[in-house]
Symmetry: C2
Subunit: 215 residues, 2 copies
């Protein structure tokens, strides 16, 4: 059985029009997001820990089967009992995170090319965050966009779930799913929307429709 990451919303204070992490997460879940990732590279660990405790309760109370992932801080994920962690190429190595979190944790790894994707799959990653597919304003350290072609190449190289990321919105989501993504991760498309619930709903429905069509 393949895990359903569906609409994967990353909370991030920058593009959120002054909204906090919890507000973004709640709206995303109401709109049908399946996975929530808490990402904050600047927050001190204690603050992130307290926030992650609250967010875990929110994710688990809002929708059955929702997944709660923490970015980078494996210790915070372990401490609050999150479902897993997402690791960028500059974060802790996969094997180190696995040692701390155990076999049942979900560990996602960012991959921008076939080499990184294959390495992460071999190392036991549960999913890949693949991108940036398109140019994106949300992540200033993101590399060059890999395009739909880059996503297709990675799709052919690995079999674990691929969550496409980077500049994904209502207009290009269908193409991303057709290129082989199992789900899509967004920051601005939800957190920066005027009505976050509606924005999440539209994206979640498109992913649902695509997945059902493929069954």
């Amino acid at each position: 059985m393949r895990m359903r990451y569906g609409l994967y919303v990353i909370t991030c204070e920058d593009p959120s029009r002054g909204r906090g992490h919890l507000e973004v997460a709640e709206a995303a879940l109401k709109g049908g997001a399946t996975t929530i990732q808490l990402r904050d590279k600047h927050m001190p660990a204690k603050e992130l820990y307290r926030l992650a405790e609250e967010m875990k309760l929110l994710v688990k109370s809002c929708a059955l089967g929702s997944i709660f992932i923490i970015n980078d801080r494996v210790d915070v994920a372990a401490a609050v009992g999150a479902d897993g962690v997402h690791l960028g190429q500059e974060d802790l190595p996969l094997e180190a995170a696995r040692k701390i979190l155990g076999k049942t944790a979900i560990i996602g790894v960012s991959a921008a090319n076939v080499k990184e994707a294959v390495e992460a799959e071999r190392g036991g990653a549960n999913y890949l965050g693949v991108g940036p597919v398109f140019p994106t304003p949300s992540k200033d350290d993101a590399g060059e966009p890999i395009g739909l072609g880059g996503l297709e190449e990675i799709r052919r190289a690995v079999s674990i779930p691929l969550i496409a990321i980077g500049g994904i919105n209502q207009d290009n989501l269908e193409a991303v799913l057709k290129a082989g993504a199992d789900g899509a991760a967004v920051i601005s498309a939800v957190a920066g929307a005027e009505d976050m619930v509606v924005a999440a709903q539209r994206l979640a429905q498109m992913i649902d429709l695509h997945l059902r069509g493929g069954e």
Copy 2:
């Protein structure tokens, strides 16, 4: 048996005259430092992890019984098998770190007053980093100096080892030890010295003499 933290040198790139973490650690150990803490609040986790692996080997090969502590990142400490972690008041809570690292890990906590000291002792901290005792240029987020009086107050309130920190040098070290510190943590006094080995030697000898005098 009380653990001997002795001269506790924090590696930190800022005041190190361009020297790297490993260079500072090696000189400190050659000079007689007993404990090395790796602190880098800006380095990405993977880089910190690789550096911590190297530093652990260095600490363990340089001197028998030396202690290797990592600042803040409990996950990195767990991943490399460091002796322990040092937690500031803004880092992960003590109980969360203990859950991840287990009973035998050394967990130190920063305390600037009696309340924080008593709370950390009750929570199972293995030692306290007490200060800043004097004004310090190394740590821009440090609070108001607590002085020798503040150190004495904390000494009366708790019984776990106290490592004084903040502006400690050859001139004031004796007074700090007389005020009840079991050891002293320094950054600039070693990392910023022209000859780091000699600087560490002088401080380590003073601590040794004091501890022997007290037996």
